[in-house]
């Protein structure tokens, strides 16, 4: 009961802020070369906004992973990727670890979206170990076929002790669903993004680590590409089936 009242207080506070913003109507205007840092990994509370899972949690394998605070007060996504396949006759390949942020929320725990329509690039300041990771921008739709819509791109890490700023344009993200690239592609709807995630997977077993300083969005005035992949008209019963 006490916990409920505390939560109610917080939610009402949030709601008040939302209403005041709505009536003030002073939206942020972004100029070219502006960045907005959306997630930092300074404190444990911020790390609690991320969920860390691996295939062992889904009984699909034996990898384990963790999202912890490193010595430099940065987020450290590390673990061990194990590509052994559990012998249950159904799984063909195994070995994945994933971190994903909690869904964007409005007051009173209502599901919301991240609105990044002003921006052109996703930026991450990371220090990886040379492996490549997969970035997942989930855009869960209303209908069940769209529940697993994820826009992906690969995050290549240099490895080594130097920090790296990866700047990936949103136009390069391609649509996939349940792990399969879709035939009919569309540019990412930037006002419908629900989660962001980073996956470590592959056929090379071993330890992995990715230190993350911040994840943000960037507006690059010179970027004119709308979508990197072709959107031809294709025969309807052959493609997308």
């Amino acid at each position: 009961m006490k916990y409920g009242i505390k939560e109610l207080k917080n939610e009402v506070q949030l709601w008040k802020e939302e209403m005041s913003e709505k009536f003030q109507y002073d939206p942020k205007v972004y100029m070219p070369d502006d960045s907005e840092i959306v997630w930092t990994f300074d404190t444990k509370e911020k790390l609690n906004q991320w969920v860390c899972t691996s295939d062992s949690d889904n009984k699909d394998g034996f990898s384990h992973c963790d999202l912890t605070l490193s010595k430099n007060k940065k987020g450290l996504f590390s673990g061990f990727l194990d590509c052994r396949v559990p012998k249950d006759g159904q799984i063909k390949e195994s070995g994945y670890c994933n971190i994903r942020c909690l869904r964007a929320r409005k007051s009173f725990k209502r599901d919301s979206f991240f609105d990044w329509q002003m921006f052109t690039h996703l930026i991450l300041r990371i220090r990886g170990d040379g492996r490549s990771y997969m970035l997942n921008l989930t855009t869960t739709g209303y209908f069940d076929v769209m529940w697993h819509d994820i826009y992906n791109y690969i995050l290549f890490t240099r490895g080594g002790p130097y920090w790296q700023v990866a700047k990936i344009p949103f136009s390069k993200f391609f649509l996939s669903s349940k792990g399969r690239i879709q035939d009919k592609q569309d540019p990412i709807p930037l006002d419908k993004i629900t989660n962001i995630g980073i996956t470590c997977a592959g056929k090379t077993p071993g330890p992995f680590q990715l230190e993350i300083d911040y994840i943000g969005v960037h507006f690059d005035g010179n970027h004119t590409e709308e979508f990197a992949y072709e959107m031809y008209n294709v025969p309807s019963f052959i493609v997308g089936v």
Binding site: D129, I154, G159, P161, W163, G202, T204, G206
Partner: protein, 460 residues
């Protein structure tokens, strides 16, 4: 009527008792009279046609072995000459591959060709292809396009091509098409890009409307797009020599374009214990930073960190100094208490100028040099410092502290899949899930399997 015997799982159709007894007796008669197993298996195939549909189309060959009692096509007729007459015996299809003494491309292709020659009608080709797929990695041919083409050519040509739209829609010959899809899937997961010859084989085998061909189309659309997107390209294939790998790794890690990669050998030093190669990287800027480093403050050697070059892990060490703290001068631009009146010839205070911090000065430390050695031992690092002292004489005075994670204590162990040597073992193995028992110690992956794409993408 024979097909609807009570052996099959069809429960809806119940033939009358008399028919059942007749059929049963015929079957038992058959069992009793015919002794050679091949003929019996032929009868079984006729009676148990329904079982084919109970194959899990996505199942592993290990499950196929489980139902091998009914799956007659897993057994292969072998002619063995003994005592002047040929003895026909049965061997498990997988043994065709397990029996080969050496595991290489030549023996794999011999096994494929022996199957092709033995049976003109290509009985059980789907099961054979699945067992071949399973053994490809073991034979080291999993990234060889020519071998995949040979595998796809095992499919009989022309038979599976759909002739009307209903066949297209209902996945004509689904088991064979699924097998074809699985071959292409394995190609994709190992990053092998098909070519136009594969296209011809697929058109001749399955037709342009088939699901296999659609998968080929998807592969040919997406794989070229992702082949060269990496901003850190590496040679293909990667060199196997650890020295070359270390050089590649250090070049990749070093951000400064002026970095010089030097190669030394500890044999040149008399008092070194480990006679190994040492590869070091340092740029002129780092040398300058080291000269500016005060003599009383220590410099730390940290390691061993891992950098992955596709599927090879290289461990490297860094020489790090404590981070330089720049004074943070916060100016309040809105402060109007002390404005300089430039119109009355008052000059504003000259602000402190400083050089922009270099790339090596990071927030957790200044990186002064990096190295990789053959043994990654403390002694080899000592030798590295001795070599560095030639170009950085200040290192003779600066105290050097080793803060190493000793690699021998933190060996990374990866359990390797046990070989399924017999049917009985494999049947039990199917039920067990292997625990995290360390079966083999591997400190760096040395096999040449390429990285799989995560989620259907060729990751190069």
């Amino acid at each position: 009527m024979l097909y609807y015997s009570t052996i099959g799982p069809m429960k809806s159709f119940r033939p009358s008792r008399s028919i059942v007894t007749v059929v049963h007796s015929l079957w038992y008669l058959g069992v009793k009279r015919i002794k050679s197993p091949t003929a019996l298996s032929f009868i079984r195939v006729k009676l148990n046609r329904n079982y084919n549909q109970h194959y899990c189309l996505h199942c592993q060959p290990s499950v196929v072995i489980q139902i091998q009692n009914f799956c007659t096509t897993n057994w292969v007729k072998q002619n063995e000459k003994g005592g002047g007459s040929t003895v026909k015996s049965l061997t498990l299809r997988e043994e065709v591959f397990q029996r080969e003494e050496s595991r290489n491309k030549k023996t794999f292709i011999t096994a494929l060709e022996s199957y092709e020659k033995r049976d003109r009608l290509r009985r059980g080709h789907v099961e054979f292809i699945y067992s071949a797929l399973k053994f490809m990695e073991e034979f080291g041919v999993h990234k060889d396009l020519a071998v995949y083409k040979k595998l796809l050519e095992i499919f009989p040509k022309g038979k599976f091509i759909a002739k009307n739209m209903f066949q297209v829609e209902f996945m004509h010959y689904p088991k064979q098409q699924q097998c074809g899809i699985d071959v292409l899937d394995q190609m994709e997961s190992f990053g092998v890009m098909p070519d136009s010859e594969v296209k011809e084989i697929l058109i001749n085998t399955f037709g342009k409307q088939s699901h296999v061909f659609r998968k080929y189309g998807r592969m040919m659309y997406w794989m070229p797009k992702f082949k060269n997107i990496t901003p850190f390209p590496l040679p293909d294939p990667l060199p196997k020599d650890p020295l070359e790998l270390a050089k590649l790794a250090l070049r990749r890690i070093s951000v400064d374009l002026q970095t010089e990669i030097s190669e030394w050998n500890a044999e040149e030093l008399e008092d070194s214990l480990d006679k190994t190669w040492i590869v070091g990287s340092q740029s002129p800027l780092q040398r300058q930073l080291l000269e500016q480093h005060p003599d009383d403050q220590a410099v730390y050697i940290e390691g061993s960190f891992i950098v992955w070059l596709r599927q090879m892990a290289v461990s490297y060490f860094i020489m790090r100094a404590n981070p330089k703290k720049y004074p943070a001068k916060e100016e309040d631009l809105d402060d109007v208490s002390n404005i300089t009146l430039t119109m009355f010839d008052h000059h504003p205070e000259s602000k402190e100028l400083m050089l922009e911090p270099s790339i090596h000065e990071q927030e957790d430390g200044t990186i002064l040099a990096m190295c990789a050695t053959g043994t990654s031992s403390r002694d080899s690092l000592l030798s590295w410092i001795r070599f560095l002292q030639h170009t950085n004489p200040c290192l003779k005075k600066i105290p050097v502290v080793f803060t190493l994670k000793s690699p021998s204590k933190e060996l990374v162990t990866v359990a390797v899949n046990e070989q399924e040597s017999s049917i009985a073992e494999s049947q039990e193995g199917c039920k067990k899930i292997p625990t995290r028992d360390k079966l083999s110690n591997v400190s760096s992956n040395e096999d040449s399997s390429s990285r799989t794409p995560s989620k259907d993408i060729a990751d190069r």
